[in-house]
C-alpha cells in the first residue's frame, strides 16, 4: 500500500496566532521500503504521523492531501477514518510506557483491536501472546501491567500491538528512543523483517544511526520543511544540505571520530499571523519566532531559506524568495547553492622553491562549514599547501577557486574584498606577533591593514569582542600588555582573536597547538572548535598529529611527498586506511612499528 503525501501544510491555531508545523510537505511511502523522517525536536515529525492517522488535535488546520493507494484520507470523517486505523495504518507512538494504558495488561491491550474487530476473546488472546512471544516477551511477561515492564519490553509490546491486525502501513515514531543497544538491534531487525515482508514503513526518528542503517530513503525535516531527500546510505558520507551535515555532526555515531559539534543557533517555531489591515482585509503571513517570543507588530514576513540564520554558507541571495529543490542523481536539496558549497578548490596546484619541489600538482576541495585536516610528516608539503590556500604564496601552476571565483584574478583585481574572507593562525604563536605590539595592536592589525574600520570606537568594540570570543580578558591593563608578558596559551589565543577579528569565512590553522602543552592544547582546541561551530567557519587544519586530527576533523587529507595521497571522512581514514603511508602514520601514532617493511627500509 502506497501513501502519497502532497503539499501538506498543517498549523496549530492559537487565538490569532498559528504555529506552522508542516509546510508544503511532499513524501511518498512505498511498499517494501523504509522511509525515514529525521530532524530536530519541533521540526514536525510527530505531527506528520498524527496527520496520517487522522489524530490531529482539534486546533489543527490542514491543507494539501494524504492519499492511501489513491484514496484521499486527509479530512475523512471519524467513522471512515476509524475503519482505516490500525487495520490499514498502525503506529508505534513515542514515549514508551506512557503510550500504554496503565490499568490493562499488555496482552489485553495487544489483543484489544482484534477483539473489537470480532475475533473471539480466547483466540485473540492466543494471537496476542504468540505475537508478543515472537517479539521476545514470554507468556508471563505478557500478562503484566505496563508499570511492571522494562522500557525494552514496553517497546517490543508496542511494536507487537501495532502488528496485531497485520496492517500494510506502519508508522514508527522513535521506536528505539531510550533503549539499550541490544534491544535497539532487536527492534531494528524486526523492522527490517517487516520491510522484507513488503510493509510500507515510515520511520520517524532523531536517531541518525538507526535511520542510516534501516532507511532506503531519508527526508530531512527542518521547521516543517523538507530540506533534503537522500538515500539512506549517503547520510553520513555524503550529506548535501548544510543542515543534514550539521545533524550528522551533532550525532554520536559509534564510529564518529570528531568531538560532537552542535548546530549553531536555535531552531524556532514558525508562526502564521493574521493582521487586520486598514482596509479591513486580513493579511496572513509566516514569521519565525522564538518559543517564548511575545509577538510584536511591525516585523517582516520571512523570506528565503529557513535554515539561513544557522547556515555556514549563507549568502545574500539566501534571504529572498521561496527556495526550491536542486536535484542531483540521488539527492534533492532545498538550497540555492545546490547543497553544501565548495568554499575552496585547487585544481592541479603545484609549487617549487628553486629546485625543491614543495608541492606536486594537487587537487583539494574544501566544503563550506567543514573542518578539513591535512596530516602528514614534516616536509610533506602541508605548510606550502596551507600558504597557497591562504593566498600568501602564489602557486607555479594550477587554479585556485575561492567562493566560486578564480582566486588569482580576484587577488589582482580586488584584493581588499578577498583578504577579510580568510583568516590565518600560524605555527609558532610567539614568532607570529611583533614584540613591539601590544595585545590591542596585534588584534587590531588586520582591521587597520584592510581599512575595514576607521571609527576608533567601533574598532575597539570589535577587538574586545574578538578577545572575549577567545576567552581572554578585555581589561584595559591586559590590552596594553606585550606578547613577552603572556604565556604561550594566551599568545595563541591572541593569534586566534587576530585571525577572527575580521570575520573570515575560511580559517586556516597551521599547527595551531603544536607548541602548547597538552592541557593548554585541549583548552585552546575546544575553544577553537566551539568558535568554528558558533561562527559557521570552514577550517583548514594542518597538523602532523593524526591522533589530534581525528578529534578535530570532519574529513582528513593525508599528505606525503608533496601531494595529497588519500582523502576521506575522518572515521574512514582512521579505521580503513588504504595507503601504506596512512597506515604507517596511524600505527606510529598508536606507538607500534610500521606495518610495511618497504616503508621501513625506505626511511
Amino acid at each position: 500500500m502506497t501513501i502519497q503525501i502532497k503539499d501538506l501544510t498543517i498549523s496549530y491555531q492559537d487565538h490569532d496566532h498559528a504555529l506552522l508545523a508542516l509546510d508544503r510537505l511532499d513524501l511518498a511511502l512505498h511498499p517494501g521500503k523504509i522511509t525515514a523522517l529525521v530532524g530536530e525536536s519541533g521540526s514536525g515529525k510527530t505531527t506528520l504521523g498524527k496527520a496520517v492517522m487522522g489524530l490531529l488535535p482539534e486546533n489543527a488546520r490542514t491543507k494539501g492531501s494524504i492519499s492511501l493507494d489513491g484514496t484521499q484520507i486527509l479530512g475523512l470523517d471519524e467513522p471512515a477514518m476509524n475503519q482505516l486505523r490500525w487495520s490499514q495504518v498502525a503506529m508505534v507512538f513515542q514515549n514508551g510506557a506512557a503510550s500504554l494504558n496503565p490499568v490493562h495488561s499488555l496482552a489485553d491491550q495487544v489483543a484489544e483491536p482484534l477483539i473489537q474487530k470480532g475475533t473471539a476473546r480466547k483466540k485473540a488472546m492466543a494471537a496476542a501472546r504468540d505475537l508478543l512471544g515472537r517479539m521476545g516477551i514470554d507468556a508471563d511477561q505478557a500478562g503484566r501491567y505496563p508499570h511492571e515492564l522494562s522500557g525494552g519490553q514496553v517497546q517490543r509490546g508496542l511494536l507487537a500491538m501495532s502488528l496485531i491486525l497485520d496492517p500494510p502501513v506502519l508508522l514508527l515514531d522513535e521506536p528505539t528512543a531510550a533503549l539499550d543497544a541490544m534491544t535497539k538491534v532487536f527492534i531494528s531487525r524486526v523492522i527490517q523483517d517487516l520491510r522484507n515482508a513488503g510493509k510500507t514503513i515510515l520511520l520517524i526518528t532523531h536517531d541518525l544511526d538507526l535511520a542510516r542503517n534501516l532507511a532506503d530513503a531519508i527526508a530531512v525535516l527542518y521547521l516543517g520543511r523538507i530540506m533534503e531527500y537522500l538515500p539512506g546510505t549517503d547520510l553520513v558520507d555524503r550529506p548535501c544540505h548544510p543542515y543534514t551535515l550539521a545533524l550528522v555532526r551533532a550525532f554520536p555515531f559509534m564510529d564518529g571520530m570528531r568531538d560532537l559539534g552542535g548546530i549553531r543557533g536555535d531552531a524556532f517555531y514558525r508562526m502564521v499571523h493574521a493582521h487586520a489591515r486598514e482596509n479591513g482585509r486580513t493579511h496572513e503571513h509566516v514569521h519565525v519566532a522564538a518559543p517564548d517570543a511575545v509577538h510584536q507588530g511591525g516585523h517582516a514576513p520571512p523570506r528565503g531559506c529557513l535554515f539561513q540564520p544557522r547556515c555556514t554558507q549563507a549568502v545574500v541571495e539566501c534571504s529572498f524568495g521561496d527556495i526550491g529543490f536542486t536535484a542531483s542523481d540521488t539527492h534533492q536539496v532545498r538550497c540555492i547553492r545546490g547543497g553544501i558549497a565548495r568554499i575552496l578548490s585547487f585544481e592541479k596546484v603545484a609549487k617549487s622553491f628553486g629546485k625543491v619541489k614543495a608541492l606536486a600538482p594537487t587537487d583539494l576541495t574544501l566544503m563550506a562549514g567543514e573542518v578539513f585536516c591535512l596530516v602528514g610528516e614534516t616536509g610533506s608539503g602541508k605548510t606550502t599547501l596551507a600558504s597557497i590556500a591562504a593566498g600568501a604564496v602564489a602557486p607555479d601552476q594550477g587554479r585556485r577557486i575561492f567562493q566560486d571565483r578564480d582566486m588569482d584574478t580576484w587577488m589582482k583585481t580586488d584584493f581588499a574584498s578577498l583578504a577579510p574572507k580568510i583568516g590565518m593562525i600560524y605555527q609558532n604563536p610567539a614568532e607570529s606577533v611583533s614584540h613591539r605590539f601590544t595585545v590591542f595592536d596585534i588584534v587590531a592589525e588586520p582591521l587597520r591593514i584592510q581599512k575595514q574600520e576607521t571609527d576608533p570606537e567601533k574598532m575597539r568594540a570589535r577587538v574586545l569582542a574578538a578577545l572575549a570570543d577567545v576567552r581572554l580578558s578585555t581589561a584595559p591593563e591586559f590590552l596594553k600588555r606585550y606578547s613577552h608578558e603572556l604565556n604561550m596559551g594566551a599568545i595563541q589565543r591572541v593569534c586566534i582573536a587576530r585571525a577572527l577579528v575580521h570575520a573570515p569565512d575560511l580559517l586556516i590553522a597551521d599547527e595551531p597547538t603544536s607548541s602548547l602543552d597538552p592541557s593548554v592544547q585541549a583548552k585552546v582546541l575546544k575553544m577553537l572548535l566551539g568558535l568554528q561551530i558558533e561562527k559557521g567557519l570552514t577550517m583548514l587544519f594542518v597538523t602532523h598529529d593524526i591522533g589530534l586530527a581525528r578529534k578535530v576533523a570532519d574529513r582528513i587529507g593525508v599528505m606525503a611527498e608533496g601531494t595529497i595521497i588519500e582523502t576521506g571522512p575522518a572515521a574512514t581514514i582512521i579505521n580503513y586506511p588504504e595507503q601504506a603511508c596512512t597506515k604507517m602514520l596511524i600505527n606510529s601514532a598508536r606507538g607500534s612499528g610500521h606495518p610495511d617493511p618497504g616503508i621501513h627500509s625506505r626511511l
Binding site: 498524527k50 476509524n82 507512538f93 503510550s99 490499568v103 490493562h104 484489544e112 501491567y145 511492571e148
Partner: protein
C-alpha cells in the same frame, strides 16, 4: 489475575484489630465519664426512670462480664434498652437501618453513576456549549447545601403543590398490595432522594470531569484512538477507567459517613432512618441508643475502608506498589 502483592488477609487483620480497639473504647468510655452518668443521662429530658429501671441500667453499664461479655452482647444484638423510646436499642436500630440504607445507598449509587457518566461525556465534549453550561450549573449547585435545597423542595413540592408527602417513608397502617406498597415507598423516597442527589451529583460530576480531562491528554488515549476502537470503548475502557479512582474514593468516604450524611435530610423530611433516630436520641440524651449508632457508624467506616483496599487493587494494578 494477580491482584494482591501481599497476602490478601493482611488488611483484614489490621482492620479487625482497629475494630476491636474501637469496641474497647466504647466499652470503657462510660466508666471514664466523671460523676454518675446514669443519673445525668436522662436528667435534662422528659424520661423518668423508676428505681428498678435505674438499677437495671446501672447493672448494664457495670459490665460485670468484662470486655468479653460486652463483645458477646454486641454480637447477640443485646445493645441495651432505650428508656426514651421504650424499646430495645437493637430493635430501634434495625427498624431504622433499612430506610437509611435505601435512601443513602440509592442516593450514592445514583449520584455517583450519573455524575461519572455526565462528567466523562462532558470532558469528551470539552469546549462545547453543552459542556460549558454543564460545568456552570454544576458549580452553582455544588454551592447549595442540602439543608437549603431540602427545605426548598419540601416547601415547593410537598407543601405548596402537594405532589409528594412531607414526612415518613411509607403510609402508616395502609392495607397495600406489594405493588402499591412499593409505589408508596418510592413516592415517599423521591424528595429526600432528590435532595441528596442534588447535593452529591455536582461534586461527582466535577470530579469525574476534571479527572477525565487530565486523562484525555495522555498518550495512551491517543494510542487507543489510533487503534481504531469504537469511541465508547476509548472513552470508558481506556480514559474513564483511569479517572475512576478518585470517584471510588469519594464514594467510599461518603458511604462510610452515611449516618451523619443522612442526619440533615432525614430530619428535614422526618424520614425514619438512622439519622432521625440519632438526632432524636441526642435530643433525649438516650445514651445507649447514641452509643449503639455511633459504634455502628465507626465500624461502618472500617468496613467500607477495608472494601476500598480491595476495590483499588481491582481498579488499578499500580496501587499495590505504592503501599
Amino acid at each position: 489475575m494477580r491482584i494482591w502483592k501481599k497476602k490478601w488477609s493482611t488488611p483484614v487483620l489490621v482492620y479487625l484489630t482497629a475494630a476491636l480497639l474501637m469496641a474497647y473504647a466504647s466499652f470503657r468510655l462510660p466508666h471514664l465519664l466523671p460523676g454518675d452518668f446514669v443519673t445525668a443521662m436522662y436528667a435534662g429530658s422528659d424520661v423518668t426512670l423508676n428505681a428498678e429501671q435505674e438499677a437495671e441500667l446501672r447493672a448494664f453499664y457495670q459490665n460485670t462480664d468484662g470486655f468479653q461479655g460486652y463483645l458477646r452482647n454486641l454480637a447477640t444484638l443485646d445493645w441495651g434498652y432505650s428508656h426514651a423510646f421504650m424499646a430495645p436499642v437493637s430493635q430501634l436500630f434495625l427498624q431504622a437501618l433499612p430506610w437509611t440504607l435505601l435512601l443513602m445507598g440509592t442516593a450514592h449509587v445514583l449520584s455517583t453513576l450519573l455524575g461519572f457518566v455526565l462528567g466523562v461525556e462532558a470532558a469528551w465534549r470539552r469546549g462545547s456549549l453543552l459542556e460549558k453550561a454543564g460545568v456552570g450549573i454544576m458549580t452553582v449547585l455544588e454551592g447549595i447545601p442540602e439543608i437549603c435545597s431540602g427545605v426548598l423542595l419540601l416547601l415547593v413540592f410537598a407543601l405548596s403543590f402537594g405532589w409528594f408527602p412531607a414526612a415518613g417513608a411509607q403510609m402508616a397502617y395502609a392495607d397495600h398490595t406489594f405493588g402499591q406498597w412499593l409505589a408508596d415507598v418510592v413516592h415517599h423516597l423521591t424528595l429526600p432522594l432528590a435532595t441528596l442527589i442534588l447535593a452529591y451529583l455536582p461534586g461527582n460530576f466535577l470530579l469525574a470531569r476534571a479527572g477525565m480531562v487530565m486523562v484525555l491528554e495522555s498518550w495512551f488515549v491517543l494510542t487507543a484512538r489510533a487503534k481504531g476502537l469504537p469511541p465508547v470503548r476509548v472513552r470508558y475502557a481506556h480514559a474513564a477507567r483511569n479517572a475512576l479512582l478518585p470517584m471510588v474514593t469519594r464514594f467510599g468516604l461518603r458511604f462510610a459517613f452515611m449516618i451523619t450524611g443522612a442526619l440533615v435530610v432525614e430530619t428535614i423530611f422526618s424520614y425514619p432512618g438512622l439519622g432521625t433516630l440519632l438526632f432524636n436520641a441526642i435530643a433525649m440524651r438516650d445514651l445507649p441508643l447514641v452509643q449503639g449508632i455511633v459504634l455502628f457508624s465507626s465500624i461502618m467506616v472500617l468496613v467500607v475502608n477495608l472494601g476500598m483496599e480491595y476495590v483499588y487493587h481491582l481498579l488499578d494494578p499500580r496501587v499495590g506498589h505504592a503501599s
